[in-house]
Symmetry: C2
Subunit: 764 residues, 2 copies
């Protein structure tokens, strides 16, 4: 164990004070001169032709300045000639809540009044509301204008068009917009070897990312029309490119200022920014759009609902022989559901000698699907980890040992080809096996509790990044980045830089710079920021350190090799009195007639191998026999984190992920009726887990060092949110004897399961 000064320490989060004291300034708090407030006129129909929009009454409302339709927004065309996509369309509504116009007004109140006064002439059209309708070859396309286009043109649009199943180039259905197919070996032969087979279909509903701060964006207009985009985004550079492309301006004329993000969880890459930018340009004034909570439920980009049929076989010795699965994702009104990654994970946690995975994505008249912390992984993991658990029971095998026997290790092949790099799935299972909660599981059962376990993993994203480490005039250092700090990553970066200088992290400031000046970093998502940017920060700090030593070497007339950094000073090794403080170094490198170059360290990464992160979870649940309410009472989350730069932050990430997983398991689901009307558009109807609903969470950090991350760190954001649903379902199965297949598992389903079990129990 290397002794560390900063990394591996429990350092308080840099971003905590303004948030904890309520003093943070979020995008919605901004005001700029001349700013207009935008409020949307939204469609009450899931599908309708719009024959007219009459804004005349709205324009009479005092304070209303303009009512914009999509025709007023000058947006660039994509390569096919179609307008770049935005969440507004004044010709056709394809989901309830879609924007059909924007009212711009001097005040919130005027904007709201204006919205009410806009008269829209809708002509309802047939609605494709469900997965089954989406799969139905006889259904109309969700978009009338698309239906009218000929097949050839439609085929040009990869995501948002009918696709042909790739294996036989056969037309599937008008609303099938994407397909995947992975196969290995011969599944029929595999199942033939199996001593037991389980086969069932699981379902999950649309789940909202549930961030505290709804979508919000302010676009200011600079002299000569350049745009400054203040936004709650996870991905400043991506947002910049998208805005620039949409409004048809050079990237350099758009500057994205990444504001503090009040929760993102994948849902805040880019949604409203291009539209707000186009609106600001249309009126020549700054425009602020703040979603209300209901806007965010209706016109956000939630995780898609899906249905996964799964069939799994194994020998009585516990060797898995075959996996077959069919996945269908409901991507809503625009393509891009995480179908492929779901299939990869579903077929990737274990060694499957034979597998066959087919998946389709279907369009429906709902809002478009977006990313959600571990996109596709919750759904896939619920399927495979329910099946694995059930199969172990059927074979009367210990479910943990069964997993250990089959789990993927370095070199095992993934469904999409390519071997896993070194991963910690096995190490997580081994650690869980040693945990008292697992060892004493029967004691919990004797108290009437159900005990469930499940694993989950995330391949981890990669994206190049650059970081800067600069010495300031007062002898402190500033790390400058282009990555958005969602989860305390800036604190981790301060630690990484500080470690290089053998000092504590409070000596390091971290700036997330706007896109006009920041070094590039990818979006904060895919569990990749600490992994990729962290290494860039380490390299930048090392580069700065070399520059500092070079200045000191000249000043102290000593070889660089004889110098060391101690307590913020460079000194000749072993000669305490010889120090040159960092402030001295700063004075020699900045200021009139100073003689040395400024210390400006840079570091870049383009890691080509991801560092997948795995977790193994255990939950003990208590079930109210009367109401069917499931209460998780103890939760153990084991996770391979590579190396915990800041154990307190890592644990907090795990805590959050676990609670989100419990939301998927027990509470969260956006319910649509057959007309595509959302029945759960408020937080009164949509159940988010609250603090008092969270169990006591024990975390166990496993550290299988990654080869590329700083100090062995790997991405840790996604894995803890993945196994929850299966873990809970397996625990409920443990108590009730019933496998519940639909998420969320609401009390009525559990109650029904208990009811079914009751006679058997009475018969004992």
């Amino acid at each position: 164990m290397v002794e560390t000064r900063a990394v591996g320490q429990r350092v308080r989060r840099i971003d905590a004070p303004p948030k904890l004291t309520g003093q943070e300034r979020f995008t919605g708090d901004l005001r700029v001169p001349g700013m207009l407030i935008a409020r949307p006129v939204t469609s009450p129909y899931a599908h309708a032709r719009i024959n007219g929009i009459d804004a005349s009454k709205a324009l009479l409302v005092p304070g209303v300045v303009r009512v914009l339709t999509s025709h007023d927004l000058v947006v660039a065309r994509d390569e096919s000639g179609a307008p770049v996509k935005m969440p507004i369309d004044s010709d056709e509504a394809v989901y309830v809540g879609q924007f059909v116009a924007l009212v711009l007004a001097e005040t919130d109140a005027a904007a709201e009044d204006g919205v009410v006064a806009v008269v829209v002439d809708y002509e309802p059209l047939p609605v494709v509301a469900t997965l089954d309708e989406g799969l139905d070859p006889t259904s109309p396309h969700i978009r009338e204008t698309r239906q009218q286009a000929n097949d050839e043109e439609a085929a040009m649009h990869n995501a948002d068009a009918a696709v042909h199943a790739e294996e036989n180039d056969e037309f599937v259905a008008p609303n099938v917009s994407n397909s995947v197919h992975f196969s290995r070996g011969d599944v029929a032969a595999g199942f033939a070897k199996a001593d037991a087979i389980v086969e069932f279909t699981v379902e999950s509903q649309t789940v909202h990312q549930g961030y505290l701060e709804p979508q919000v964006c302010l676009v200011d207009i600079e002299p000569l029309g350049d745009l400054t985009v203040y936004t709650s985004t996870q991905a400043a550079f991506y947002c910049r490119t998208r805005v620039a492309e949409t409004v048809g301006m050079p990237t350099q004329r758009v500057n994205v200022v990444p504001m503090p993000v009040g929760g993102g969880f994948g849902g805040k890459f880019v949604l409203i920014e291009p539209m707000v930018a186009a609106a600001a340009l249309a009126v020549g004034r700054p425009v602020l759009l703040r979603y209300a909570r209901m806007d965010d439920f209706l016109a956000g980009n939630p995780a898609p609902d899906c249905r996964i049929a799964i069939k799994l076989g194994a020998t009585k010795d516990g060797d898995i022989t075959a996996l077959e699965s069919r996945l269908v994702f409901d991507t809503g009104s625009s393509g891009g559901s995480p179908l492929q990654i779901a299939a990869i994970l579903l077929g990737g946690y274990y060694r499957f000698p034979h597998l066959e995975l087919k998946g389709h994505e279907v369009l429906t008249n709902k809002p478009g699907a977006g990313a959600y912390r571990a996109p596709g992984a919750q759904q896939a993991t619920f399927a495979i980890e329910s099946a694995v658990d059930e199969l172990a029971r059927k074979l009367d095998l210990d479910p943990l040992e069964f997993r250990l026997r089959n789990c993927a290790v370095e070199g095992d092949e993934r469904p999409n080809g390519g071997a896993w790099p070194r991963i910690g799935l096995k190490e997580c299972l081994l650690a869980l096996r040693e945990h008292p909660a697992w060892i004493n599981r029967n004691a919990a059962r004797e108290q009437g509790r159900g005990v469930g376990i499940a694993v989950g993993g995330w391949p981890g994203g990669i994206e190049p990044a650059t970081a800067v480490c600069r010495l300031d005039s007062n002898g402190k250092l500033t790390v400058v980045l282009g990555s958005v700090d969602l989860t305390g990553t800036n604190t981790a970066f301060a630690q990484i830089a500080a470690e290089t200088f053998n000092m504590s992290a409070e000596n390091i400031a971290v700036t997330t710079a706007p896109t006009d000046a920041a070094p590039f970093a990818g979006g904060t998502g895919g569990s990749k920021i600490t992994y990729t940017v962290g290494k860039a920060v380490q390299r930048a700090a090392e580069d700065a350190m070399l520059q500092i030593l070079a200045v000191a070497s000249e000043a102290l007339e000593a070889s660089v090799d004889d110098l060391e950094m101690v307590d913020g000073s460079v000194r000749v090794r072993g000669v305490p009195g010889s120090g040159l403080s960092l402030k001295d170094i700063a004075g020699r490198t900045m200021g009139f007639a100073a003689r040395n170059e400024p210390v400006y360290g840079t570091g870049s990464t383009a890691i080509r191998e991801s560092a997948p992160g795995f977790a193994a979870h255990l939950v003990e649940v208590e079930i109210d026999e009367v109401t069917g309410v499931t209460r998780p009472v103890r939760y153990v989350a084991v996770q391979d984190v590579g190396f915990a730069i800041n154990p307190a932050e890592v644990e907090a990430q795990i805590h959050g992920g676990v609670v989100q997983g419990l939301g998927w398991a027990l509470y969260e689901g956006m319910v649509y009726d057959n007309d595509g009307q959302l029945l759960t558009a408020t937080l009164m109807d949509y159940a988010l887990p609250r603090a008092e609903m969270a169990p006591w969470i024990e975390t166990v950090l496993v550290e299988v060092a990654s080869e590329h991350g700083a100090y062995g760190a790997k991405g840790i954001g996604e894995p803890p949110a993945i196994p929850g649903a299966a873990t809970v379902a397996n625990a409920i199965r443990d108590v009730t004897g019933t496998r519940l297949l639909c998420l969320p598992i609401r009390p009525e389903a559990v109650s029904e399961a208990l009811w079914e079990r009751a006679p058997a129990t009475a018969a004992d």
Copy 2:
């Protein structure tokens, strides 16, 4: 001559469109929520004890929020324990216009009304108003509180305290705050060898920088009290340090956003920012202070008035034998006049075998002196170039040949020791000798015009700098800098970067970043930005180019040595079809799962040798025999610019400098009465040259390449503003036969000279 694609080209200024169209957003245009307007209560006395400030009536004015005195401003103490200096003092006023209180109000009107309602109890004290009073050993100190301090304590304060003349440690006078003494050889012996000697004393008045935009600063308060300083400053990093030190916060908690500067000319380094920051912290709200024009005259930091006695001797062959001079600078109420540099220049343009230069700086009850484009150089050059001209006349020598014979060249010693590096003074004189205006000077004289010439030079500043050159997603490049663009330097930097990529400058964007994220650069002053930052930009671009070639090398499977950049694409040398565009490179280095590191070139400089810049000017003047009005009608400005990155910008800089020089020569002077009252506090009373007063200016660019600047460039900002006064005085002498010794040379002085000449003319 190397063929160039971008440097050496006449490229339009990047910053011109918003300024020319009136759309630029200056600091005074900013509004932030909760912002208060500050207006100063100013002293009507040049020196007064303040016995009390009654703000009660002011606080009754609707909209007035607070009236702050210096006691309300929590400012750090310097090393002596004194409060850090700010332009407000509520105990003692030491010049007319000094702030004694700040009224903070919701509107400009309320603030103005509040100012009028503040009652200050002043007790007038003796005023030290003139140079002679400042030099008088019996004068009181300009500051009562300083007078009361004992000598020992006073001696601790270098700038603002009585000094002892260094040669004999003898006390000079209470208000003498600095001294210089340079000597070489034996001046008495030198003058003994002279065949002719001239000896006179020149004077110049206080001159204001005359920027279009008065001083202005807005300090916003971020969550948790961090400060964002929006300001019209030439020196963002220096301003940051000064604000942080004044308010006692870590540098990292202060972010300076350098705003477009509506003219600086040396007067906008740091003046009001620390005070505005302290005021914002005192009330916990953002504060905007905008100087009115009169505030800027009264409480700015103008160029000091001075008096220079000079004695110069030469042999009849034209060899200068000795120089003796005594310089006295009136530094106003705070030290820091350019005494030393004035002495160095005065004794530096020529080879003086023997010289003796003594100078003193004196405090008076006027605003403190500041830098002005070529600080000290106008005054010193007026003295030496008047004397050289007069001596040539006395010896009946050609004034240009006389200068050529004696002018300093590489290796000649400067008064302060150290030899000149390679300079272009001689080359400028040679170029002027070939100019038609010089060749045909007698033709002009026959038309009744006077022809004068003079030279001037500036040693050039040095300061370390870093620059960044980043590839953006659309294949364009952005240069990121910490230097403020006063004069088109960002355009020059775009050209320098573009040249490296063999493309035109419009492919390069330039960002001047705030101090929390910018690479370090020094203040824009001292003619050093193009010289120092320019080289950093060149290195950053070269670094980026190497990174681009490395990516292309991998993609094209070709050696870097075989690659070339043509028309924005990297291709295999001589294989036109093989190109990889910069957008392709961008795609390989940014974006999810991209495989190459982002292109982020950096370059730093710490040039240790300055690149002095010299100019030789010629003017033809016409003098109205009746009114004495001098009208410059033709002006030739020859300047060694090293290498003109953008000839159009260089010429524009020369044009501006020439007109400023004409201001010094003929128009500008702040006049104080014996009570220290400024008589010229408006632009009705203070004459700035206007466009129609400018002659036709011919520029001749001499290019004596500097060793260190990009493409040989050197600083060109200061030199063209230097020779003007002497050039015009020499031309007036040419017509009138009278040497005028006081700047500005107003019509009454010329008229008097003509009157004196008249009888002689009549007697001919």
